[in-house]
């Protein structure tokens, strides 16, 4: 029964399943090509690939949360950049745990500012977060004009201990499973699926939105710490690429850009897929410009495929049962639970 074609198709159209599928294929190509070319496969390589993926995974999950809620947040690259230069320029000898907490707080604060402008000012989130992105990118270059500085050795060495990166990934998946079922998680999905309904049911929509913006900001802060740890130094421009890659990871992971649908696990595998692409291209041995073009095209493909499948899903839903979004039932029990 499990092998019938409908089931397979369902897994492939489901974002998370598709991302895992792509990732497995890319990993298979990468590792088999590498071993046939006589370079062999060692665990250290996979380990460093995971370490390199951590910042993108965490940042892209933050971006995903905001998308699920039905908004866009472009400031991730800015927060990561500023966290990186602050750690490298001033916090390099501080207690690493304090650094993590401080930087997450900083990210959360920036998320708070974003949220206040968007919610209280009723301004388009794209415009506001673009402005904060520009400001943060500028500040990062002002703080650290040239790439330099040092990252606390504990952080740099810490993430490179075998299985630490893998452990963090497992923790992320567990945290998502818990968050998805928490009240805030349910509200987040409901808000993206039908903000009007949520508003009419008397829930504090603004507060929920604000919480998600802050949470996403804190995640960008954490991503900045991971990015610093994997980079090992400070660079005001190093985070710029995150603007595209975070959204690309979310797209590959099957997050619907209209809101209401998405998964951090999908995004996680989206990020892993995205970072496996350069590995494969490198092993194949294509030139510099082909890599750039291929990378851009694959992102385009993922975004378009994701948009297309969610477009079709929308139509199917409209045809079958217009308002039986899966979160509705869960939502009512959640509100009851909240009152009890």
């Amino acid at each position: 029964m499990n092998t019938n074609p409908g089931r397979i198709r369902q897994t492939l159209t489901d974002g998370t399943g598709r991302a895992v599928f792509f990732w497995l294929i890319l990993m298979a190509i990468w590792l088999s090509l590498q071993s046939t070319q006589g370079m062999g496969v060692d665990l250290g390589q996979i380990q460093s690939y995971l370490v390199l993926s951590l910042p993108l995974i965490v940042a892209a999950i933050g971006v995903t949360l905001v998308i699920i809620m039905g908004q866009f947040d472009l400031s991730a690259a800015g927060v990561i950049g500023i966290v990186n230069v602050i750690i490298a320029s001033t916090l390099s000898s501080w207690n690493p745990l304090l650094v993590v907490v401080l930087m997450m707080a900083l990210g959360g604060f920036i998320g708070l500012v974003n949220g206040l402008f968007v919610i209280l000012g009723k301004l388009p989130a794209i415009a506001v977060t673009l402005a904060t992105l520009i400001i943060l990118q500028g500040l990062a270059v002002v703080i650290l004009p040239q790439p330099s500085g040092k990252i606390p050795p504990f952080l740099v060495d810490g993430v490179r201990v075998p299985f630490v990166a893998l452990g963090i990934i497992v923790i992320i998946i567990i945290a998502w499973m818990l968050f998805k079922r928490s009240r805030l998680g349910l509200y987040m999905f409901a808000l993206g699926a039908d903000p009007e309904a949520l508003h009419l049911s008397g829930l504090p929509v603004k507060k929920i939105q604000l919480k998600i913006f802050v949470l996403a900001g804190a995640l960008y802060g954490l991503a900045g710490v991971f990015m610093s740890a994997s980079l090992g130094s400070g660079d005001g421009n190093a985070a710029d690429s995150f603007l595209l890659t975070t959204f690309a990871a979310a797209a590959i992971g099957g997050t619907a850009f209209v809101g209401g649908r998405g998964s951090a696990v999908g995004t996680l595998f989206g990020a892993l897929t995205l970072l496996a692409i350069p590995k494969v291209l490198f092993v194949i041995g294509v030139s510099d410009w082909t890599q750039k073009v291929a990378f851009g095209l694959l992102v385009l493909l993922a975004v378009v495929a994701g948009a297309f499948s969610s477009l079709r899903k929308d139509r199917e839903q409209l045809l079958v049962a217009p308002y039986s979004t899966p979160t509705e039932g869960e939502l009512s029990t959640a509100t009851k639970g909240g009152n009890a």
């Binding site: 866009f72 472009l74 402008f117 000012g121 009723k122 301004l123 388009p124 794209i126 415009a127 506001v128 673009l130 402005a131 904060t132 992105l133 520009i134 400001i135 943060l136 990118q137 500028g138 500040l139 990062a140 270059v141 002002v142 703080i143 004009p145 039908d194 009007e196 309904a197 009419l200 005001g236 603007l243 595209l244 959204f247 690309a248 797209a251 850009f257 510099d288 410009w289 082909t290 890599q291 750039k292 073009v293 291929a294 990378f295 851009g296 095209l297 992102v299 385009l300 975004v303 378009v304 994701g306 948009a307 297309f308 477009l311 308002y323």
Partner: protein, 344 residues
């Protein structure tokens, strides 16, 4: 009835605010910034500085025109740097390495830019993919293509005619040609956006996609044409910048993306609302360019420029909000039950 009239008067006031006062305020601010530049540099304000501001604003306006139309209809075109680099590389390589005709090279560059603009538009309008991701990824692809075209060559030199036209060395009535072109661009842009059917379609589509569809407008075609114009504009800017800077570097376009978006936002265009005016966009461009010139003459780190841009954008966003909010509140207080009925 009198309430109706009051609302109409309010709306007229609000639209006059946008079409006349805002551009005037922005232009005055631009002048003020240049004059205040005296505080940081002996050489300001000067005739040369005014000409530089006008020239740089002209390049900015050419990019911001398409950007503004795209934003009016709810999108964002982040492929601008890629298109600029590609168009610049095409014309420079065509003329200096392949000894091609400049005219053919220009047509080729503009055609390719237009084509990629159309591709952006199709992906956004037909497949409903989010604009900023599509265009961002497209930008990466185009930068790759530019790298391929100029592969192995060091920044090809610009065709002479383009240098004469756009570097400011060519003069007409003693004024640099790009500075004069600023006014030409301004007038052409105004005619297209405010006085042509094309512009009206953009406004209708921006204010309500549904209404536009119901009115029998070819919605997808209009949306695609906005991206096509943006691609074409960026391509044109690429040709001008190749002349302005003397060679075709791949980083030619990167410093024009954020200013183009900032100019549109500071000009009071609200993304996807069908609200926004060209005259405000170009005067906002003047103001932003003046700020850049003054900052450059003080010698403070470049980063402060983006910080200031971001702050100006945030302030401008709040300013578009204030008059809009008043009108909305008034309408709502008119008929308390007019809110969206619950969907069932």
């Amino acid at each position: 009835m009198s309430d109706q009239l009051a609302i109409q008067a309010q709306q007229r006031r609000s639209s006059r605010m946008q079409t006349i006062y805002r551009p005037l305020i922005l232009a005055a601010l631009a002048l003020l910034v240049l004059v205040a530049g005296r505080l940081v540099s002996e050489s300001l304000p000067s005739w040369i500085a005014v000409q530089t501001v006008l020239s740089l604003s002209m390049f900015l306006s050419v990019v911001a025109f398409g950007q503004g139309l795209v934003m009016l209809t709810g999108g964002l075109d982040l492929s601008v740097p890629g298109v600029i680099a590609l168009s610049a590389s095409i014309v420079a390589v065509w003329v200096s390495f392949m000894d091609g005709n400049l005219f053919v090279g220009v047509l080729l560059a503009l055609g390719v830019s237009l084509l990629f603009g159309i591709v952006n538009g199709v992906l956004v309008s037909v497949l409903k993919a989010p604009a900023f991701i599509v265009t961002l990824a497209m930008g990466a692809v185009l930068e790759g293509f530019s790298l391929f075209i100029t592969y192995g060559h060091k920044a090809p030199e610009s065709p002479e005619l383009l240098v004469t036209l756009f570097s400011g060395s060519g003069k007409l009535f003693g004024i640099g040609i790009p500075a004069l072109l600023f006014f030409v661009v301004g007038i052409i842009g105004f005619i297209i956006q405010a006085r042509s059917r094309f512009g009206r379609n953009a406004y209708l589509l921006g204010s309500s996609l549904e209404a536009s569809r119901i009115a029998g407008q070819p919605v997808n075609f209009i949306q695609i044409s906005m991206y096509a114009v943006s691609g074409f504009g960026a391509g044109l800017a690429g040709l001008m910048l190749v002349g302005f800077s003397g060679n075709a570097q791949l980083s030619l376009g990167t410093e024009w993306l954020m200013p183009s978006i900032a100019a549109v936002l500071v000009g009071g265009t609200v993304i996807g609302s069908g609200r926004g005016f060209w005259q405000a966009t170009i005067t906002a461009g003047l103001m932003l360019t003046s700020i850049t010139i003054v900052i450059q003459s003080t010698g403070v780190p470049q980063g402060w420029k983006s910080v200031l841009y971001g702050v100006v954008v945030l302030v401008a966003l709040l300013s578009t909000r204030s008059d809009f909010g008043r009108r909305r509140r008034k309408q709502i207080s008119q008929s308390p039950l007019q809110g969206n009925p619950p969907k069932k």
